[in-house]
């Protein structure tokens, strides 16, 4: 009996060890892949008083790449027309004169708006829903859930579409109702970031700044920033971005609410990381 129990114990240990080893292997694979969190959009207000056409266009681009999730399909992978490389003013005019066009828009601005709130009004050939013979678009209606873009946000995207290829922006700047814009960066919604890199990813700093070799160019390149600013100046640049503006960049481009959104430790981690650039 003792012998049998010992044998069972050995079998238990070896099979358990094997199983746990395999589980650890799977865990390791999951942990060595790039770690990206899908942050929930957080409401933030746009200061209409300080809004310029340039910042409105920037807001449009930000929405296009962020909350609007447009680039999920409108990219170079062929799932939807790659409108970032197309001249949308010219393309809109061509579509308006297409015999297949059945919508009610009379000009480019109205067409761009209609394409977002009634995407099936004109479906680009071969991009319709399967089996619909290009009469139904797979694109979501942007002013309804899950996107829920506001009228002002839609106008901002139109402004971006018109301006990106040097065209004239015909859409008017909003002046009345306060717009509610959402950023893809999480802010208070998510758990505090655990590292400087995580905080930079969380607040989407790389969307505008070049950091560690990657990122956008809407804001100043932060490579080697430690040579230009000290810790205190960096902290001020984040929490009061309009206090000192880098040469060649417009006032009001950078969100002003990081002081409210970031935790103290997140701010410190970001500053420390930037000082190492």
């Amino acid at each position: 009996m003792m012998e049998r129990n010992r044998q069972r114990g050995n079998v238990l240990l070896s099979t358990l060890g094997f199983s746990l080893g395999l589980i650890l292997l799977f865990t390791m694979v999951a942990n060595i892949l790039p770690q990206v969190e899908g942050e929930a959009p957080v409401d933030s207000e746009v200061d209409l008083g300080a809004l310029t056409m340039d910042s409105f266009v920037s807001l449009g681009e930000e929405l296009f790449r962020g909350k609007g999730t447009c680039t999920l399909c409108h990219n170079n992978l062929g799932r939807a027309p790659d409108i970032l490389v197309m001249n949308m003013v010219d393309t809109s005019s061509e579509r308006l004169s297409d015999t297949r066009y059945q919508g009610g828009a009379a000009d480019v601005e109205a067409y761009l708006r209609e394409s977002m709130i009634d995407p099936s009004g004109y479906v680009v050939a071969s991009f319709g829903k399967k089996g619909s013979d290009d009469t139904e678009s797979p694109m979501p209606t942007v002013n309804k859930a899950p996107l829920n873009l506001s009228d002002i946000e839609i106008d901002a995207i139109i402004a971006f579409m018109q301006s990106k290829d040097g065209g004239e922006v015909t859409v008017a700047l909003p002046t009345e109702a306060p717009a509610v814009a959402e950023e893809s960066a999480a802010g208070g919604g998510a758990a505090p970031a655990e590292s400087g890199e995580a905080a930079i990813a969380k607040y989407g700093c790389s969307a505008c700044h070049l950091i560690s070799g990657s990122g956008g160019d809407l804001g100043p390149d932060l490579s080697g920033i430690a040579a230009r600013l000290d810790a205190q100046q960096l902290q001020q640049a984040i929490t009061e971005p309009n206090a000192v503006i880098a040469e060649g960049f417009a006032v009001g481009l950078m969100p002003t609410d990081f002081a409210n959104k970031m935790t103290v430790s997140e701010l410190k981690m970001v500053v420390d990381l930037l000082l190492k650039q």
């Binding site: 770690q35 959009p41 998510a190």
Partner: protein
């Protein structure tokens, strides 16, 4: 007049049940009774019906218990799902094994089926315990959400409770009535109980699936969540049936794998040749069930994803090409592990019969193909690289390996892996026999032709449509690949079935003559299956992004973001280890009932 036997009664019950469900559901023409009061009719007739939108919880509506509420629900829900899958799956194949025993008159089938049910019985209590805990956790941690869900599903929740009682009744009578209803006419009564058990269990699963699919793709409600449809319209959302089918098949594969581990453990601990032979046979049967259910699973998954894309392209891309895309590399590792383990087990099992020697030359080629396909499947497309790495690589994608990272290459790989696994299985099944039909050589030639045509078609469709045409054809070509694989499997089963129906068993299998090492494949399968189920649960839930109920009720809790793959992996590991511990307990309890303490006086004597 012939007396009514239980067998006839059983057939009548099944026929009437199928007809009734079809008729009442409106599938045989006519109106479905479930739709008798359609949403629009009720809107017009009942002006007093107030259309109440879904509440939108604020951060303050979520109780703070000091740890992540999502993590708590994640662990408990996953444990409930693991055990639920097990207890639903085991009776399904147990009834099949019981029928096999009845047909062949071989008592071993009956004994094995009974032993499988013993595992299911203990697991059933654990399922219920986790189910109850899950309900408490949800009501405590997500009160607004649960309040809305209760309002939407209403009395259907009570139907769920009734089904639970029914399942319990049939489970106990089926298990404890095994020996009392073992032979003759009574066996049919016992089989009827088994069928009823499965009927109750499957309905239970379909009902609870409707809650999950409603959260992903709600139906029967307005844009703001006001209920306007009847319960049938609410349940029958676009993703309900794809999820039902996917879970139905996956549960069988999972259940087979778990009981396979039980057999593997008992084999390794066995001391007599008779014990070894019994548990070797049990392990083989379990592996057969797991893999045979697993082969069509990718196709059910394909249907599910196609429906996800049709419902919301955005949701589909979030899963397959967006933030969750990296997860499919882990999935490739898991499925590769499953297929390699299953194939290894089959190849090792060939040692049971001398007749397998004639097929051993094939094994190295099958193994090579599977490993190559496995490597292609797990090759990522986009890498996060530093500037120096990009410079060294000559671009963001490797010029040779880059093309292997996209779907056409992976579709070729996964289809070839499935075909090779089926080939292993077919060779194994043929090992001990020799066909006696006159058309054997023609049948073999036909099979070889089907294999070659399917493989050529899979590679051609993948390469030509995947790399030389646009995206629309790329997606369409995967359908022809899937059809090719299915044709190989279905025609292989049919042709072999006919060719070996009265075949001579020339080299009888010696059960128990298999290496101990091969038994570890029986542990790799459930571990990988469990981890895979957990991972797929993460993606299914995450595609809703920051919504409790997609487009209707926002998740405003502190956990309303999609966690990174590493965090999800750690959570899945936690639940897998917990499941492993509980399964060991189940095995221990099942084993305990076989032991009997020797009376002290007898022991001394």
């Amino acid at each position: 007049m012939k007396p009514l036997t239980y067998r006839t009664l059983l057939l009548w019950v099944v026929a009437v049940a199928i007809f009734s469900v079809g008729y009442l559901g409106g599938d045989l023409g006519g109106d479905s009774i479930w739709n008798s009061a359609s949403a629009m009719e009720r809107l017009v007739e009942g002006e007093e019906i107030a259309l109440k939108p879904a509440p939108q919880p604020t951060r303050g509506d979520y109780p703070n218990i000091g740890v992540s509420s999502r993590a708590v629900v994640w662990v408990v829900a996953q444990m409930h799902l693991f055990f639920g899958a097990l207890v639903l799956a085991v009776p399904m194949f147990v009834v099949g094994i019981e029928i096999m025993g009845l047909k062949t008159g071989d008592d071993r089938y009956d004994d094995m089926a009974h032993e499988f049910m013993k595992i299911s019985l203990t697991a059933y209590s654990i399922t219920a315990l986790f189910g109850g805990t899950l309900a408490i956790a949800l009501f405590l941690l997500y009160p607004t959400f649960m309040d809305y869900m209760m309002g939407v599903f209403g009395a259907q929740m009570l139907v769920y409770a009734v089904l639970f009682f029914l399942e319990t009744f049939f489970l106990y009578t089926y298990y404890y009535g095994w020996d009392a209803l073992r032979y003759g006419n009574k066996k049919w009564l016992h089989l009827s109980l088994g069928l009823m058990l499965n009927g109750a269990g499957l309905t239970l699963m379909f009902v609870s699936n409707s809650w999950a699919t409603f959260m992903m793709a709600p139906s029967g409600i307005t844009d703001v969540g006001a209920v306007v449809g009847n319960i049938w319209e609410i349940m029958k959302g676009p993703l309900w049936n794809p999820v039902n089918l996917h879970r139905f098949i996956a549960n069988i594969a999972f259940g087979g794998a778990v009981v396979g581990a039980y057999a593997g453990f008992k084999f390794l601990a066995a001391r007599t040749p008779a014990e070894k032979a019994h548990y070797d046979w049990m392990g083989y049967t379990s592996n057969f069930i797991a893999i045979f259910a697993f082969l069509p699973l990718p196709f059910a998954g394909y249907w599910l994803m196609a429906e996800v894309y049709a419902y919301s392209q955005q949701m589909g891309i979030t899963a397959m090409g967006g933030i969750l895309a990296w997860l499919f590399i882990v999935q490739a590792v898991l499925i590769g592990t499953i297929l390699l383990a299953a194939n290894y087990y089959l190849w090792s099992g060939m040692s049971r019969t001398e007749g397998s020697k004639r097929y051993q030359g094939f094994i190295k080629w099958i193994a090579l193909t599977i490993v190559l396909c496995f490597l292609i499947w797990m090759t990522p497309h986009t890498l996060l690289l530093s500037a120096s790495e990009i410079a060294a690589l000559g671009g963001s994608h490797h010029h040779i390996l880059g093309p292997l990272g996209i779907m056409p290459a992976k579709n070729i790989a996964v289809n070839l892996m499935l075909i090779m696994t089926f080939l292993s299985f077919q060779l194994y099944r043929r090992s001990d026999k020799e066909a006696t039909v006159s058309w054997a050589s023609m049948g073999n030639a036909l099979l070889v032709a089907i294999y070659i045509a399917a493989i050529v078609n899979i590679i051609f469709a993948g390469v030509y449509y995947g790399y030389f045409t646009n995206t629309v054809y790329k997606v369409g070509s995967s359908v022809t690949q899937v059809v090719s694989t299915l044709i190989v499997i279905i025609s292989g089963v049919i042709i072999d079935g006919m060719m070996y129906k009265n075949a001579k068993v020339k080299y009888p299998a010696v059960w128990g003559r298999v290496t101990n090492r091969s038994q570890y494949a029986l542990f790799a399968l459930p571990v990988a299956f469990t981890w895979l189920m957990g991972l797929m649960g993460y993606v299914r839930s995450s595609v809703k992004t920051h919504w409790h109920i997609y487009t209707v009720m926002k998740d405003n809790s502190p956990d309303n973001y999609i966690p990174a793959i590493g965090y999800a992996g750690n959570m899945v590991t936690l639940v897998t280890v917990l499941f492993l511990i509980f399964v060991l307990f189940v095995f221990w309890v099942a084993n305990l009932s076989q032991q009997k303490q020797v009376k002290p006086q007898e022991a001394e004597a």
